[in-house]
């Protein structure tokens, strides 16, 4: 019985092998020269991917990165721009940290980066 199980498992693993590669990214489709990304859009994105999941709620760890309001989000970016770029919009961004949550899409990261590049406009 054990031998049969081993063989079946080996066959299953053998059959599951494949070489698959994701399609080439299309730079998120954001043209920052013409895109109008507003604070409301970015704050809604941060709420959906971060603060609605109990992260960066304010008054709790991490205390510095308080994203509970749009103004606090903007204040953080203004004072910690390089960290935000590195961890949220950069090529090695690691936010949101896993815990089963999917990474931000390239389009979302590009949109946020574009909003920052335009000076965090509300309109």
């Amino acid at each position: 019985m054990t031998r049969i199980s081993f063989f079946l498992l080996a066959m299953l693993l053998f059959a599951a092998c494949k070489n698959d590669q994701a399609p080439a990214p299309v730079s998120g489709g954001v043209n920052c020269d013409v895109a109008k990304i507003t604070t409301a859009y970015v704050f809604a994105t941060i709420q959906a991917n971060c603060s609605s999941r109990g992260c960066h709620p304010g008054g709790n760890s991490p205390t510095v990165a308080d994203f509970s309001t749009a103004e606090k989000l903007k204040a953080y970016i203004n004072t910690h721009r390089s960290v935000f770029d590195l961890r949220v919009t950069g090529p090695q961004a690691d936010m949101p940290q896993s815990m089963g949550y999917p990474a931000l899409s390239q389009g979302t990261k590009d949109s946020i980066a574009c909003w920052i590049a335009h000076g965090l406009p509300d309109q």
Partner: protein, 314 residues
């Protein structure tokens, strides 16, 4: 790709060989040839496997932890040199079916593209070095299969976007050749093949790497460890990641201290890789020692003997 599966199959087939007594063909020791013991204290060196095996009916409970960057942007005193963060955590149960065959299961956080990793592993030792050099080296093969349980990314260009279940699979096949010189120095070579079913654009599904590791014994219970892997990633792939994403791949280098305390083996490690499993730390190390992106961690091993001690006391 099929090479990995073939080597895994070989590992499994050797199980039957052993069950039928055919492994006597590989038996490296007789009454006149004494086996070399304790080439390493543990079945792992720093990150990778050693040629050491569990004894028959031994259960090994292992915990491995890797903290955040010691220095650089995310390290320093604000994270107490990385201890506020964890890049990977692994909990495993491994079991010795015989003195030369072991299997195991584990769960890791995962420190690469894929996370929430479940692993099944098998390791078989064909040869064991003898003191009279009748057999000059120990030789083992290792294989694993890993599946990710994470939520599929909505970004179709990500390695973590899964069209079907097989996209979640990764494999490693590895040969391990070790020799213990005198009583103080042990060296290992580890040709390794990593296969990942689904990767990001311009990443490589199949990657060959050559590992080298060693231990310098400082005292009866203390050893200094070093381990290095050289992955043979194509220049085209390296250039693409550097140019489009700013990502540079680095070769994993680990240093450690191996401490034996009774039934425990405790290793303190320093590595530039963020992951623990070979499936990730060989192809996906993008952090550099020179930029302070190394981390400390530990491996704890606690062994239990099941079904009495009679078998391995022989």
């Amino acid at each position: 790709m099929k090479i990995v599966s073939t080597i895994l199959l070989c590992c499994i087939i050797s199980t039957y060989a052993q069950a039928q007594g055919l492994d006597k063909l590989f038996d490296s020791t007789t009454a006149t040839h004494t086996r070399v013991r304790d080439t390493y204290k543990s079945t792992r060196i720093v990150q990778g496997q050693s040629t050491e095996m569990l004894r028959k009916h031994e259960l090994d409970f292992r915990v491995a932890h890797r903290f955040g960057d010691v220095g650089g942007e995310f390290g320093g005193s604000k994270t107490f040199f990385g201890t506020d963060n964890s890049t990977d955590i692994r909990i495993a149960f491994e079991y010795g079916i015989s003195d030369n065959l072991m299997v195991g299961i584990s769960r890791s956080k995962g420190g690469g593209d894929l996370q929430q990793l479940y692993e099944g592993l098998i390791k078989y030792r064909f040869l064991q070095q003898t003191t009279d050099d009748h057999v000059p080296v120990s030789l083992a093969v290792f294989g694993n299969a890993v599946i990710s349980g994470m939520t599929s990314s909505t970004d179709k260009t990500a390695a973590s976007h899964f069209e079907d279940g097989s996209d979640r699979l990764m494999y490693v096949a590895q040969a391990l050749v070790s020799r213990k010189f005198a009583n103080r120095l042990s060296l290992t070579l580890a040709p390794t093949y990593v296969h990942r079913n689904h990767v990001a654009y311009m990443d490589v599904n199949n990657l060959f790497a050559l590992g080298a590791a060693g231990r310098l014994k400082l005292s009866k219970r203390l050893g200094l460890l070093a381990e290095y892997y050289y992955p043979f990633r194509s220049q085209e792939s390296k250039d693409y990641f550097k140019a489009t994403k700013g990502i540079t791949f680095y070769n994993p280098l680990g240093l450690g201290l191996e401490i034996e305390t009774g039934g425990h083996v405790f290793s303190i490690t320093f590595t530039n890789s963020t992951s623990i499993l070979e499936n990730q730390f060989i192809p996906e190390t993008t952090t550099s020692w020179l930029q302070g992106q190394f981390r400390w961690g530990f491996n704890i091993s606690r062994r239990f003997t099941l079904f009495g001690k009679k078998d391995w006391k022989k």
